[in-house]
């Protein structure tokens, strides 16, 4: 049982780490702003919760686990919202999805 929990926890931590790396690569490689914040939000909403869930399994039924659960809840609420706010602000600022530069930026040079 303990071994199974340990394995599961490490699997979660590794999956979370993998998502972090994927998010990082996406942030560097994807073509425009909107796809890039998509990559960034992958890090926020998959990498961190997976790692925290793995840590929860490590710490067992303690106060730490409760605090980590609150952290996951907080992250799941705030990080998609932050991404949403970013995307909306970009749209409001005149950035068109699929285009590299906003008209305003091209105008400025």
């Amino acid at each position: 049982m303990a071994l199974a929990l340990d394995l599961l926890s490490w699997a979660l931590i590794l999956v979370g780490g993998a998502f972090g790396v994927i998010g990082g690569i996406g942030l560097l490689r994807l073509p425009d702003f909107f796809t890039r914040i998509h990559a960034g939000s992958v890090t926020d909403s998959m990498c961190a919760p997976c790692i925290i869930a793995g840590l929860m399994l490590q710490s067992g039924l303690t106060l730490v686990t409760v605090k980590l659960a609150f952290l996951i809840l907080f992250l799941l609420l705030t990080s998609p919202t932050a991404t949403h706010a970013l995307a909306k602000a970009a749209l409001h600022g005149g950035l068109v999805p699929g285009k590299e530069h906003s008209p305003a930026e091209e105008h400025r040079g």
Partner: protein, 334 residues
């Protein structure tokens, strides 16, 4: 392993610093400064200096970033080009200063050296006696609020002086007549509103937890005040400045920084009136440990009130000015 983490974090800090130097977009620079503070907080956490890490994360990465962004909203977004300026003299100054600093580190004790003066002077006394004198687990709170309460009083007065300076320079004036705080585009943002409604009460509750649990876990008045202010600022950002002003009327807010300092100072006067020295808590109650905890609780409330209200006042004053100068395309007036 610890060394590896330290090297990694320090490398990130160096990268941040170089990026800050090379960037010209001041909004990006501000975000890099926030990142810088956050990595520094991580570094403090690896040294188990959790109170310092907490403060760095809340103040450096949180509220300072917000205040700089609000300031930038009223000035320029991009750094002025400085082409053609002579770079030799600044370079020389920087090199000489850097060389002197690096030379100076040769005399510092090795990191973590138990024989370092900092670990031999008063620190052992605090570590050995906190449990007996004050009876709280968080030694940092004991040092900050009891053994070194004078220093903390000084810090609170500095924070108070900061807001006095801002008021003296910018004034508490209302916005000019005719400038309406018109509903901004954020008003349509249902998602932000719903999430902010869920988050803000939780942040306020967390601030109270940090305030009153500061003797048992990392935290205290400074961090709690900043977190409290951050929650109200989030509310003001999403629901508009005027709504936030109805929640915290400026008439009352203007008094609060002084009230906080007075709570702190009057605790000291109270102990004097009861026959002790200034900020000597032992006279507050029969049991010495209870007396100490009572004193710490009182001055932490003073600290929290001052810090929260000062941060809010500065934000409100800046944001009010931004409303006054805002033009239609969202660019700030110069």
């Amino acid at each position: 392993m610890d060394t590896l983490v330290d090297i990694l974090l320090l490398a990130f800090i160096a990268i941040c610093a170089i990026a800050i130097l090379r960037l010209r977009d001041l909004f990006a620079v501000t975000m890099m400064f926030g990142l810088f503070s956050f990595i520094a907080a991580g570094l403090f956490a690896t040294m188990h200096a959790l109170d310092v890490a907490f403060t760095e994360a809340a103040v450096g990465a949180g509220i300072a970033t917000i205040l700089i962004l609000v300031t930038l909203g009223q000035t320029a977004r991009r750094e002025k080009s400085q082409a053609g300026r002579n770079v030799l003299l600044p370079l020389l100054v920087v090199w000489v200063t850097g060389a002197v600093l690096i030379y100076g580190t040769a005399d510092l004790p090795v990191f973590g050296d138990p024989q370092a003066p900092a670990h031999l002077h008063v620190a052992p006394y605090y570590i050995e006696n906190t449990r007996e004198h004050i009876g709280i687990p968080n030694m940092v709170a004991a040092v900050l609020a009891s053994y070194r309460a004078y220093d903390t009083l000084g810090e609170v007065v500095v924070v108070f002086a900061a807001v006095l300076g801002v008021i003296a320079l910018l004034g508490l004036r209302r916005r000019p007549a005719g400038v309406e705080a018109r509903p901004r585009d954020l008003e349509e943002h249902q998602v932000l509103k719903v999430v902010a409604k869920m988050i803000v009460p939780v942040i306020l509750l967390f601030a109270l937890y940090v305030q009153f649990h500061g003797e048992y876990s990392p935290g205290g008045g400074f961090q709690a005040g900043v977190i409290f202010a951050a929650a109200i600022i989030l509310y003001a950002l999403v629901f508009g400045l005027d709504t936030a002003r109805q929640v915290i009327p400026p008439r009352i807010l203007g008094w609060l920084p002084a009230v906080g300092v007075l709570i702190f100072g009057c605790t000291g006067v109270l102990t004097q009136l009861l026959g002790g020295n200034y900020l000597d808590y032992y006279v507050l109650a029969e049991n010495p440990q209870t007396a100490q905890q009572l004193g710490i609780l009182m001055i932490e409330i003073g600290v929290g009130v001052t810090v929260a209200s000062v941060m809010l006042l500065i934000y409100f004053i800046f944001a009010e000015r931004a409303l006054g100068t805002r033009t239609d395309d969202g660019e700030a007036g110069r």
